[in-house]
């Protein structure tokens, strides 16, 4: 296969592409529990928009939905390249869906090369159906035509149900540039395939193009209708996934949008950031809406400035947030230490990506847990939370702001690239004024009030902010005493470190044990955190259906850890951490119990509870699949 071929979107009218050859009678509608669909294309052909719209329509229908963005690492990868697949995976189900699933049942591909990328990554279920743009077959460049034919035949030989569709040719009578318009045609096709209500589809199209002109909306509606009609007339399969329309309104957003909405809802008014993938889209969205509610997104000159800017704002009384990803988080470490030392509330969102170093900017990983907990030099205790669902992304920010201000601590919220770009409906939040930060206290403090009057039991202080009469003091990153004055006294240094550490214990005392998913006891307990929750719980459900005695628990707090974990673990024969970060494989030749590096959570649980906890992880940059975890469960229990 020649990957270097570049596409020439010729308009060679003499070469008529073949029309889908299928003879047909009205097909019977097959009822499915769930279905995984992918729409993939070169970057810029609108496959992502098509997929997101399909997800939204399904959510409107009342189906369970989880959408995953398929993003090339480059902004403009060469056309028709295997690594350039751009698009969306949509997992539709009759019930709530919490992850992207295992393999794809139905693919729509705009060229065979991007499809090949997905085939090689093992994303397609054996024998799955493929709707493939077939204009390449008759392409004027003989190399392209040859590559297409070769791939086509290869796929057919592998047993895939390949249906060739001249999408562009079909769109050409409707729009002048079918390359940009065929995504809505495909949306129409898929709406027919899944028996979706076309009225909802039309509304979704109008919503999608609400910022565009009427003419644009009209032509996209025409494409949608044409696609739906074409599928009705030409495809011999049709599905229905039973749906239960929710009683409560739901919102459909991805994790980054949820974080941005959480910032709005938390009452914070300053977000200082520096662009970094995959966190930036949260700030993009926030920039669009924040000013309307009197908020500010400040794009600083660098990550350090973003963090220190937020610290300055927080110090002055307005708890601020900075949103970043791994490399940016590393740069912020010194500043985070300053906030810890000065006991300034601060919310740091880390949308994790593959690392170390620049790593895999667009791919997810849970590699920053230990950095988040132990990062910054010296003893710098801070709170680390992890969002495990899209809904969590929203509420974690609200909660983090409250904890940060109540405890005068840095609160790190971990998300990752998988949550950032995935969509899942969740109940529409009902706004409560109590979510908002209290206004800046400017009342006079009694003379002699100390800014760091650490409570001997809890380590907590009552913070004084600039503007409060009688409260003047200087805060410093140097060791300081209760007045905030630089202190070289060994006793006061230890007292201060103790107090800052105590605050974590204080917070821990306010936490409840994590719930157990499945039976409270059994053969295997899986412990996870963050975005793997959906896949772990689905794998546990499937394993339990097979009769395996497996349960799972998922941690929202990595630092401090929720209580009762030891008791939960004690009720299972074995404990296994499943994480999307690296742990050495015991089967490797040199790995033994003396040198094995454990996954992050496993390491922490082992050290805290002195329990022999096993771990399994995967760092492929893809969301871990429930089927993969199921295999791990089977192997561990066997």
């Amino acid at each position: 296969m020649n990957e270097t071929l570049t596409a020439v979107h010729g308009d060679d009218a003499t070469l008529e592409p073949p029309v889908a050859p299928r003879p047909k009678a009205k097909p019977a509608v097959v009822t499915l529990d769930e279905c995984v669909v992918e729409i993939i294309s070169d970057s810029g052909e609108g496959a992502q928009r098509c997929g997101q719209s399909l997800g939204a329509i399904a959510a409107r229908m009342g189906n369970g939905v989880w959408t995953v963005e398929i993003i090339p690492a480059e902004i403009q990868p060469p056309a028709r390249s295997i690594a350039g697949a751009s698009g969306n995976r949509i997992r539709l189900g009759a019930n709530r869906i919490a992850n992207g699933g295992d393999g794809v049942d139905l693919v729509v591909a705009f060229n065979e090369q991007v499809l090949l990328g997905r085939v090689r990554a093992g994303e397609l279920k054996p024998g799955c159906t493929i709707l493939l743009e077939c204009m390449w077959r008759t392409h004027s460049d003989p190399r392209i035509a040859a590559a297409y034919r070769e791939t086509y035949e290869d796929l057919v030989a592998q047993g895939y149900q390949v249906i060739e569709v001249p999408f562009e040719a079909l769109c050409k009578p409707i729009v002048p540039d079918p390359r940009r318009g065929k995504n809505m045609f495909v949306l129409g096709v898929l709406c027919t395939v899944f028996s979706f209500d076309l009225k909802l589809a039309r509304e979704q199209v109008r919503l999608t193009f609400r910022k565009k002109s009427d003419a644009v909306v009209r032509s996209n509606l025409a494409l949608l209708e044409a696609g739906a009609a074409w599928a009705d007339a030409n495809l011999d399969f049709k599905y229905r996934i039973p749906a239960v329309r929710a009683k409560e309104p739901q919102i459909v957003v991805n994790g980054n949008t949820a974080i941005a909405l959480g910032v709005l809802a938390s009452g914070m008014e300053i977000c200082a950031m520096y662009p970094i993938t995959p966190a930036t889209s949260a700030s993009h969205y926030l920039s669009e809406v924040f000013e309307r509610v009197g908020g500010i997104v400040h794009q600083a000159e660098d990550e350090i400035a973003a963090c220190t800017f937020a610290i300055g704002a927080s110090y002055a009384g307005k708890c601020a947030v900075t949103i970043t990803s791994g490399p940016g988080y590393s740069l912020k470490q010194e500043a985070i230490g300053l906030a810890v030392m000065c006991e300034i509330p601060l919310v740091v969102v880390n949308v994790q990506r593959g690392g170390p170093s620049t790593g895999q900017p667009t791919k997810g990983e849970q590699g920053d847990a230990l950095t988040a907990i132990y990062g910054s030099h010296g003893d710098a205790p801070k709170v680390v939370m992890a969002a495990s669902t899209i809904e969590d992304c929203f509420y974690s920010v609200v909660t983090a702001r409250k904890i940060a201000e109540a405890f005068n601590m840095v609160v790190v919220v971990l998300s990752d690239s998988n949550l950032a770009t995935s969509q899942q409906p969740f109940p529409r939040p009902r706004f409560d004024e109590a979510w908002l930060a209290a206004p800046i206290d400017q009342s006079a403090v009694p003379f002699g009030t100390k800014p760091y009057d650490w409570n001997k039991d809890t380590g907590l202080i009552h913070r004084i902010v600039p503007g409060q009469p009688n409260g003047m003091h200087t805060i410093t990153g140097l060791a300081h005493d209760r007045d905030g004055r630089v202190a070289y006294d060994p006793v006061i240094n230890e007292e201060a470190i103790r107090a800052r550490s105590l605050k974590l214990a204080t917070l821990q005392k306010t936490l409840k044990p994590p719930p157990v998913f499945g039976d409270p006891d059994g053969d295997l307990l899986i412990v996870g955190w963050g975005s793997t929750r959906g896949a772990i719980e689905e794998a546990v459900t499937r394993a339990r259906a097979e009769g395996l005695k497996v349960s799972s628990t998922h941690l929202h707090f990595l630092q401090p850890m929720q209580p009762g974990i030891k008791e939960i673990m004690a009720r299972f024969r074995r404990v296994l951490c499943v994480e999307a970060n690296w742990c050495d494989r015991p089967e490797d030749k040199l790995i033994d119990e003396n040198n094995r590096r454990f996954s992050a959570l496993a390491m922490m649980l082992r050290s805290r509870y002195l329990v022999d906890i096993d771990c399994w992880g995967e760092v492929k940059g893809q969301p871990i699949k429930p089927g993969t975890i199921l295999d791990v469960i089977r192997a561990r229990i066997a």
Binding site: R60, E291, G294, A305, E433, H473
Partner: protein, 329 residues
């Protein structure tokens, strides 16, 4: 025209502040250090303007000069090396009602914090920034700084430093949105005070470089200037600062300079012999970032609620079919 009542009432409880009201602790700077002169000038400014101590925030980085906030009985934030400016920007953005001062040294500002320095000029937030430039690292015991004279023997350049000194004035004057640049020398306290006062009253980012002698590590550098008044050039202008008769008697090398003339300001700034003091550049018309971003605008709860609900509406899937009607509400 009479005065609004609340202002009369405020004056009823207004107390005149003394220098002591702004003093905190005994400065731990070396004796003979120019930081003392800046501290005295700033405290005088606060007293003369009768500024309320709780409305002042002094932000600094790391270095000898960055100890400054500890000696002010105001709010202070002694931060981390090089980051005084972004911290101060955050403070100002959150609290435009505060008077923000930044004290930074030549290492803090021109070396580790150089990126922030350039961008702070561009943001042009209303704050007074004092660059305590003594041309050497003091706190870490004598290393070259970006403003050290070429050939300086220091602990990291035992054979003499290799590069020409950076000129913080010309750098500042070269950045977009520059709005106030002034210079003073620590041995003429009158000018230190006058320049900081003008900087305080400037609406925007006012950058004041104080040329200081480090009595410990670079005591001789400015000796010739100290001994020869001709080597100091007083910039004077109705829009600049004025000088006392006593000072004019000593420093006869004076020149009229219109602070609105940036080209001339750049020429003057590039001179170290004579060393210019006074206001080099001032442009009140540059908008302040905090004003552009409408910092401090009231945020009624209803506004936040309405904004959030409107956004949620965009993403909501309503349970009923009559959704458009619902979302229009």
């Amino acid at each position: 025209m009479s005065m609004p009542m609340h202002e009369c009432l405020l004056q009823m409880v207004e107390e005149a502040h003394s220098l002591e009201d702004y003093q905190s602790g005994v400065p731990r700077w070396c004796s003979g250090c120019g930081d003392n002169a800046v501290l005295a000038a700033v405290q005088r400014l606060c007293r003369d303007e009768n500024l309320r101590p709780e409305k002042l925030a002094f932000v600094s980085g790391i270095g000898c000069a960055s100890r400054f906030p500890h000696y002010m009985r105001t709010y202070g934030f002694h931060g981390i090396h090089g980051r005084a400016l972004p911290i101060a920007e955050g403070v100002k953005m959150a609290r435009p009602d505060l008077h923000v001062f930044v004290n930074t040294g030549d290492g803090d500002c021109c070396s580790i914090g150089a990126a922030h320095w350039l961008h702070a000029i561009r943001y042009n937030m209303n704050m007074t920034v004092v660059l305590h430039d003594n041309h050497v690292y003091g706190l870490t015991k004598k290393q070259v700084s970006p403003t050290s004279p070429k050939g300086l023997r220091s602990n990291t350049t035992p054979h003499g430093s290799y590069l020409d000194a950076m000129n913080p004035l010309t750098v500042t004057l070269g950045v977009t949105n520059v709005s106030f640049v002034a210079q003073a020398v620590d041995w003429i306290p009158e000018v230190v005070h006058a320049v900081i006062k003008a900087a305080f009253h400037h609406q925007g980012f006012s950058f004041v470089r104080i040329i200081q002698r480090c009595p410990e590590f670079l005591p001789k550098m400015w000796e010739p200037w100290l001994h020869d008044p001709q080597k100091t050039l007083l910039l004077e202008h109705p829009d600049g600062i004025g000088y006392s008769a006593g000072l004019q008697k000593i420093y006869k090398n004076r020149q009229s300079h219109d602070p609105s003339d940036i080209h001339r300001a750049r020429e003057i700034a590039s001179s170290i012999d004579p060393v210019p003091v006074g206001i080099l550049f001032r442009d009140e018309s540059v908008p302040c970032y905090e004003d552009i971003r409408e910092a401090g605008k009231p945020r009624p709860i209803e506004m936040i609620k309405a904004g959030l609900e409107a956004e949620l509406d965009k993403f909501t899937v309503w349970p009923d079919a009559d959704e458009p009607a619902r979302s229009a509400v």
